[in-house]
Amino acid sequence: MHVPDGFINAPVSVAAGVVAAGGVAVALRGARRELDDRTAPLAGLTAAFVFAAQMLNFPVAAGTSGHLLGGTLAAILVGPYTAVLCMAVVLGMQALLFADGGLSALGVNITIMGLVTVAVGYGVFRLLLRVLPATRPAVTGAAFGAALVSVPAAAAVFTLIYAIGGTAEVPIGTVAGAMIGVHVLIGIGEALITSLTVSSVLAVRPDLVHGARGLLRKPELRTRAASGAGA
């Protein structure tokens, strides 16, 4: 859901823009710690990955399909700061090149789909890892929980922004109910895809899962002596 122009009034759009710019500035500083001079190519390729991943539609029910938002997935895979940069760049390019999401609402979109999904998703993920054992199913479960919470959280923040700066007099309870209700469902799809994707990366390159770095050992390549002759 990319918010178009005119959905949120001008002052609140500007305020959200300031929040988004601040968040991206913090992320820029943090990403240099996560990636140093590899920031541009690696964050750029991860942004291209998020962009492509959003094109992968998965069937939900009865002919409808959804696609990934990717904030939590990116945060777990490459770290929260780099993830914020990737999401901000993806959203900016979608607004500029594809007219998806209003230019005046770019701040709102980055705040909701970049900052909130990454911060909530990564926060929940780390919290869950603290109480769960250091095993691959546990990390997968933590990714599931993180993505599950991140999508309704983004919807809740959207509702909040809408309550302050919405341009139509829809009772806020109705908006909150509809938005959060629908996004709990979307969140289940997001959680399923996020956790399975994290799990499949963990199986091959656990060192590339930033959120679980050092938690799991790299799988060893084992060779077994052939038993018997001719094997």
Partner: protein, 254 residues
């Protein structure tokens, strides 16, 4: 849920709009959108004025109206939201076409449809007349921090490569008889995504090494400059200036 971003919006051409420097067009569109968003929704004539301005720009840029209209479909999810609004909004109710609807909700729906559509059309015209690479140069000229521009440049450069990998994976799945039918198939799609991430990230590592071996030190060499003359700025200011006049008039005239 937006639609997929299967194809770019750029339409090659040599119209006066195409030839304007990208930073001028970016500022023009931003000011135009700001004027539209700040206009009180009751001034229907002002929105008609904005629409005429965009139609004029499309005519000068020789972007076919049909192409623009087809591409506005991207805002469809929010149109659905807007159409629901008169039925769920609070406030005084009026009878319209035999339906009891909220007056405030009707205005809300009109507000979203009008402003959203004008914003989408303005963005479509910008993207249709400006090469993506030039748009980035324009963004850079407007003092966007270097790292952000670099990340966006890499994303643009490799988006088609990564999307191509995804397409080949889909063909590979299909040729092995896979068809995503319901939620139980999510595992297969997720494994594709996992593989796609690894391929993308490892490609990033290789690209970085290739750059380092060519002397990369965190800064990109200067791209060709796209300076703008005062005349070009003036030409690009035609749209936002006219929009600002309409917005000002909409605020003053009751």
């Amino acid at each position: 849920m937006g639609a997929g971003h299967a194809h770019r919006l750029y339409l090659p051409g040599a119209s006066p709009v195409h030839r304007l420097p990208p930073q001028c067009k970016l500022v023009a569109v931003l000011v135009f959108v700001a004027a539209v968003v700040a206009t009180p929704r009751e001034r229907i004539w002002a929105f008609a004025g904005y629409a005429l301005l965009l139609a004029a720009v499309a005519a000068v840029a020789r972007v076919p109206y049909g192409v623009v209209l087809r591409r506005t479909l991207i805002e469809l999810p929010f149109v659905v939201f807007a159409l629901l609004m008169p039925f769920v909004a609070s406030g005084e109710r009026v009878t319209w076409l035999g339906l009891s609807v909220s007056e405030a909700g009707l205005w809300g729906a009109w507000n979203i449809l009008a402003k959203g559509t004008l914003g989408v059309v303005a963005s479509i015209l910008l993207a249709a007349t400006t090469e993506p690479r030039l748009l980035l140069l324009g963004v850079e000229r407007l003092r966007m921090p270097q790292p952000i521009v670099q990340i966006a440049a890499f994303m643009l450069r490799y988006a088609d490569v990564v999307a191509g990998e995804l397409r080949r994976m889909r063909i590979a799945r299909a040729s092995r008889g896979f068809e995503a039918r319901d939620v139980r198939d999510a595992g297969v799609l997720a494994r594709s995504l996992g593989a796609l991430f690894l391929r993308s990230y490892e490609r990033g590592e290789r690209v970085h090494l290739a750059m380092v071996s060519r002397g990369y030190d965190g800064r990109m060499p200067a791209w060709h400059a796209v300076g703008a003359t005062a005349a070009q700025w003036t030409a690009a200011a035609a749209l936002p200036a006219a929009a600002a006049l309409i917005a000002a008039a909409a605020w003053i005239i009751p």
